[in-house]
Amino acid sequence: VYLKSLELVGFKSFALKTKLDFEPGMTAVVGPNGCGKSNIADAVRWVLGEQSAKALRGGKMEDCIFNGTDGKRPLGMAETTITFADCENVLGTDYNEISIARRVFRSGEGQYFMNKAPCRLKDIQRLFMGTGIGTVSYSIMEQGRIDQILSSRPEDRRTIFEEAS
């Protein structure tokens, strides 16, 4: 299975529809401070089911919706879609590609979609279980967090070990 694309619209600073296509190998994301690079990382965590607004640097989930700028009004919804390909084996799907989408509205209400069909968070979590994809995994390492792998008390480090087993 490999990551094929990520599409954001209304998510944090990505007011306009934005798509990133991925290839095998190493993709670098660059730009000045505050341009939106870590917001992309937040979008990946979010669409994979992150439940804690704090983990996305916000106070509530609606903080993820584009909240306007000098020249642009706030939006009413944030949406992110992540697409994987070659997933028959690892994810056990019938299709070669699978798209997971998530939306949140100003009311706080949210929705999940699997290949455009509404689904529950549970379905997404079950899909990715045991694959290493997901928010618990160390495969997403946020800015400034690398030191925590060491500085957390020895007792905390055990979660790493439990995850790997």
């Binding site: 670098a28 994301v29 020249g71 642009k72 160390y138 995850e163």
Partner: protein
């Protein structure tokens, strides 16, 4: 489950020692130590690191860059056991100097056979090692926009690519 934990611990320990040597170079060594061998399911885990030429110490006395590199060794040790289809690393190289970034990038490239890597960075060496490059701008203040500067199929970057910061 004590057995299972024990087995995993041994595996991570082994991988960690291999990764540490690759990142710190010859003459270095490291190990993970269970604080209380009698109670392995509950006790803490100590990280001992010995950069080349130095005495083994707990990680608290290491420098900022040495700590980052040690943490990366532990992270990669876990990736070795359970590779994920993709890994997203946000500015891991912030505290590293030039030669450490070179080694970090070399080790990372060793994993590209089994995982895609998405790396957020300000560093030119890391950027130079990428197969694909995405630039993010905010010309309309507050609104992010992507400028793709793919160069996997081309030998060099497009001439109008914004200069990478720092």
């Amino acid at each position: 489950t004590t057995d299972m934990f024990s087995k995993t611990f041994e595996q991570i320990n082994e991988n960690f020692q291999v990764m540490f040597k690759k990142l710190f170079g010859t003459g270095s060594s490291s190990k993970l130590v269970l604080v209380n061998e009698e109670d392995i399911l509950e006790c803490g885990i100590e990280v001992i690191a010995r950069p080349p030429g130095k005495r083994p110490q707990t990680v608290s006395l290491l420098s900022g860059g040495e700590r980052t590199l040690t943490a990366v060794a532990l992270l990669f040790a876990i990736y070795m056991i359970k590779p994920s289809p993709f890994c997203l690393l946000d500015e891991l190289d912030a505290a590293l100097d030039a030669s450490n970034i070179n080694r970090f990038v070399d080790v990372l490239q060793g994993f590209l056979g089994q995982s895609q890597f998405l790396v957020i960075t300000h560093n030119n060496r890391t950027i130079a090692a990428a197969d694909v490059l995405y630039g993010i701008t905010m010309e309309q203040s507050g609104v992010s926009k992507i400028v793709a500067m793919k160069f996997k199929d081309h030998e060099k970057k497009k001439p109008d690519a914004p200069p990478p910061a720092t």
